[in-house]
């Protein structure tokens, strides 16, 4: 009966001041009823917020990007991680992406994305996926690293100094691939060389910051000023591991990617 009264009264309020009459009505009601309304409202708000968080986190970073120069073995690594079998590969024109079930106890799954290494494609595709990257696996060809160190360092530098990446600080795993070749450099050596190279790049690239404002891209300074650059100075978690996508026995055998798989399991 009281409910009916309320509805009827509300319809008449078109002429009077709505708020005053509303307040009067509320005050005239019983406390329990008001409490009931307030609790219901609070519940609704809480649910919305909860689902909003849930939505946000499901859209949030659950991708692992496989980056690297051309011919470093990203696509083969992609297939080895997924299926363990060997396929012949060519230069990728588009990215490969699929869900990957990691081999840890939780069995969590995320998206593994193999980004083409070609210079004209990589910038655009990295732009597309950098916001959702939870981890970055940077694949390096260990056998020709000495020749390519500057290109590798420049690519790594451009990724690390990207605003979005620097803000999210995803885990960085540097996979020194092609260890099956005898000339391959070890992970430690590659780490040292990269640190030296990034140190130099820091100086040449970021000297511009002090004199210009609003520079496009890379306004991030890697590591600490005054000291030589080391990967430990980065806010991201960095790991250097060795692996071989081809494997010691070539096409028929397994790949040596246990270290990589363990790393990925920890993400």
């Amino acid at each position: 009966m009281e409910n009916e009264k309320i509805h009827v009264d509300l319809e008449d309020f078109s002429e009077e001041q709505f708020m005053e009459s509303f307040m009067r009505e509320i005050q005239s009601e019983e406390a329990v009823f008001i409490l009931g309304i307030l609790v219901a409202l609070a519940l609704v708000i809480l649910t919305v917020v909860f689902f909003g968080n849930f939505w946000g986190s499901s859209k949030a970073r659950n991708a692992v990007l496989l980056l690297g120069l051309c011919d470093s073995g990203k696509t083969l690594l992609f297939t080895r991680l997924l299926l363990g079998k060997f396929v012949r590969t060519q230069t990728s024109i588009t990215e490969n992406s699929t869900t990957y079930k990691s081999k840890n106890d939780r069995g969590s799954s995320w998206t593994l994305i193999d980004v083409p290494g070609h210079e004209s494609l990589r910038v655009q595709i990295v732009e597309k996926y950098k916001a959702v990257a939870r981890a970055i696996v940077f694949v390096v060809d260990s056998s020709i690293f000495q020749k390519d160190v500057r290109d590798v360092a420049e690519f790594l530098y451009s990724i690390l100094t990207d605003n979005v990446v620097a803000k999210n600080a995803p885990t960085l795993v540097v996979a020194c691939n092609k260890q099956d070749i005898s000339m391959a450099k070890s992970a430690k050596l590659i780490q040292q060389q990269l640190e030296k190279e990034l140190n130099t790049l820091r100086m040449t690239r970021s000297a511009a910051l002090s004199s210009q404002d609003g520079a496009v891209g890379g306004s991030v300074y890697l590591g600490k000023k005054g000291k030589d650059f080391e990967f430990s100075q980065l806010p991201n978690r960095v790991e250097f591991i060795e692996c071989s996508a081809l494997g010691s026995k070539g096409e028929d055998g397994d790949a040596d990617i246990h270290a990589l798989e363990n790393c990925l399991a920890k993400i």
Partner: protein, 653 residues
């Protein structure tokens, strides 16, 4: 006969491959070269490519993201290959339709694509069909149509010449009876065709009658126009009056003022003096150019809108013409297609894309992209989109525009690392100077941009030697000397440890440029300069002796970087310039890996508002990155290329 055939996904996973008998090397190398030079550089307009001894043909399947490539020896001319690829593609799609329609990259990995048997069947069919056509034997005269016609019917209606021709024809026919009746047939057919055209054009009049008619028209015009002619004749005799002396302003009276020697220029002892002018250097902030160059800013101003409207009107006129052609199709079917397109399961066909592509081509040309580059680009985008399934609620126009934008950004992205400062540091650590050569046609801004680049380099702490290898143009050496003095006054030697930051190496005029360059590099190595900038004379690309001289300079001195300086105002000429320059450099170098143009300097960028198409033309032709962009005439007007800004300026309506 085929060397190999490969089917792989666009993501790089090889689904199936076939290697011909006796072929030892893997196809990976050539296919990678194909991908890098053709598909990724948006040259997929024509679908064949040669790599060493192999000739490669390919086909893109955009619906399932596959690439089909076939390779065979270049010396063989196999005619069945095109049709063969099409057949294989259709067959493969039909057979594996279910597997290919799954989503995700796993579909390529999980399924086994056993295509070998089908492939061999198709190959045998194709080879068989090409052998089946026997060579056509020529018809004898008696079989040909000409022998059926009477001579009188072949007579043309012209008098005089005709009778001679008749006789000539008869004799010719008599001679050529047993011989190539086919050739005569063709000629006779052509003549009859032209006769018919003449007849239809003039409503049946003979040639002489037409001439009579035209003459009559001409005389009537003459009679009617006789009066103005006469009146124009009358004022003529009044014109030649006496000759009046021409008065010059400074007519030889104030000689002292005309004497410019002594105030500028040739005093070599002046090298260390600082001009009072140089210190009053307005608007140049020292240390403003440290570090990497800023990207090109693109601001759109409101003043440009009027110009844009004019350009748009021209576009509309051109577009209207092309739309008339395309408007005949469609109608009811077009509406249905549009509805289907909205739902999102429509495949893009060539006919759908053609009107949009024509419009985009005209738009690009209006933005100063060279005409053949624009058409090649549009063909390449069409190839990339053909057969693709459009997403929901996307129109053909938006898909095509997006694809074109992506490919433009892709073209402008440098294919190799562009970091001059890092390379100079590397050269410094090896104790040799980093040599940059500037070449280009006349008047594009080589010396000005050389000065800007040396300013940037000294701001970053390097010492620069300018080699004046322009020994032809009057005042070239003095120009460089003036720049050197101004730069030294901005960065005085006292601040940099007593050594002048910029020095000029010159040997006057008329000497051999290559020799001067060699001496300059040796001098730089001895004195420990970090960078050598070689300024060459401007030369037209058609001028063979000058191009030879330039090629010799570059081949002998092997600079670290050969920069082609091109102005942004150039239009279709850019293609010609770059092709001929590269050609000359390749022809006159004695090694089998010639030094070609390594980079482009795009100058006078501030003079074009948003007609930035020259950047695309130049990068497309050479495949080399744009290293510097010149945006003015002061030292700080040097930028690096911002691909996104340029593409958005290009695509802006």
């Amino acid at each position: 006969m085929l060397d190999f055939f490969a089917i792989f996904s666009k993501g790089g996973i090889v689904l199936w491959c076939f290697q011909g008998a006796g072929v030892t090397e893997s196809f990976g190398g050539p296919v990678n070269a194909l991908i890098r030079s053709v598909i990724l550089q948006e040259r997929s307009g024509n679908n064949s490519f040669t790599h060493n001894a192999l000739s490669l043909k390919y086909k893109l399947d955009n619906e399932f993201e596959l690439v089909f490539v076939v390779g065979f020896q270049k010396i063989l001319t196999l005619t069945y290959v095109d049709k063969f690829i099409d057949d294989v593609q259709l067959h493969f799609r039909d057979r594996y339709k279910n597997e290919l329609e799954q989503r995700g990259a796993l579909k390529f990995l999980l399924n086994n694509f056993e295509f070998g048997d089908d492939f061999h069947i198709l190959l045998r069919e194709a080879e068989g069909s090409s052998k089946a056509k026997a060579p056509v034997s020529m018809r004898t005269f008696n079989e040909s149509q000409k022998s059926q016609k009477t001579v009188k019917s072949m007579i043309e209606t012209k008098d005089g010449d005709k009778s001679k021709e008749q006789v000539g024809k008869k004799s010719k026919n008599a001679k050529k009876e047993g011989e190539k009746s086919g050739g005569d047939q063709a000629k006779a057919a052509a003549q009859t065709a032209s006769k018919k055209a003449v007849e239809t054009g003039n409503g049946g009049l003979t040639q002489e009658e037409i001439i009579e008619r035209n003459r009559a028209k001409f005389f009537s015009k003459q009679l009617g126009g006789a009066k103005p002619e006469k009146s124009s004749k009358s004022p003529k005799p009044q014109k030649p009056k006496g000759k009046m002396n021409r008065v010059w302003d400074m007519g030889g009276k104030r000689i002292a003022e005309l004497d410019y020697s002594g105030t500028n220029g040739d005093n070599s002892s002046d090298a260390q003096n600082q001009d009072p002018d140089a210190t009053a250097e307005p608007l140049i902030q020292v240390d403003s150019m440290k570090g990497d160059l800023r990207g090109v800013d693109y601001e759109s101003s409101d003043d440009d809108d009027d110009e844009d409207e004019e350009v748009q009107e021209e576009d509309r006129v051109v577009v209207a013409n092309t739309n008339k052609k395309g408007g005949k199709k469609g109608g009811f079917g077009g509406m249905f297609g549009m509805l289907k397109g909205l739902v999102g399961s429509k495949n893009l066909t060539q006919e759908d894309m053609e009107p949009v592509l024509d419009k985009m081509r005209d738009h690009l040309i209006a933005k100063n992209v060279a005409a053949e580059i624009a058409s090649q680009l549009c063909n390449s985008v069409a190839k990339k989109l053909e057969g693709k399934v459009m997403g929901t609620f996307t129109t053909v126009a938006s898909t095509v525009k997006q694809a074109l934008q992506d490919s433009l950004v892709q073209i402008l992205q440098p294919k190799r690392r562009v970091d001059i400062l890092r390379d100079v540091l590397e050269a410094r650590s090896q104790r040799k100077p980093f040599v940059i050569t500037f070449c280009g046609v006349n008047g594009v801004g080589k010396s000005t941009n050389l000065a800007k680049i040396s300013y940037w380099l000294i701001e970053n702490g390097f010492t620069v030697l300018i080699a004046a290898c322009d020994t032809f143009r009057a005042g070239a050496v003095e120009q460089l000397r003036t720049h050197q003095r101004r730069l030294n006054s901005l960065h005085p030697p006292e601040k940099h440890g007593g050594q002048p930051t910029v020095q000029l190496f010159e040997k006057g005029y008329g000497k051999d440029a290559a020799g001067i360059a060699m001496e300059a590099i040796a001098f730089a190595r001895n004195q420990g300069f970090d960078v050598v900038l070689i300024d060459t004379a401007g030369r037209m690309q058609d001028n063979a002796p000058l191009m030879t001289a330039l090629a010799k300079l570059i081949a002998v001195n092997t600079p670290d970087l050969v920069l082609f300086v091109g102005e942004a105002l150039v239009g279709n000429e850019a293609v010609d310039q770059l092709v001929k320059f590269n050609q000359a450099l390749a022809d006159h170098s004695k090694t089998d890996k010639p030094r070609l143009i390594d980079g482009i300097v795009l100058t006078k960028f501030d003079t074009i508002d948003d007609k930035v198409g020259a950047a695309i033309s130049m990068t497309y032709i050479t495949g080399q990155p744009i290293v510097f962009v010149g945006t003015g005439q002061t030292y700080s007007d040097l930028r690096s290329l911002n691909a996104r800004a340029v593409v958005s300026a290009l695509m802006k309506a």
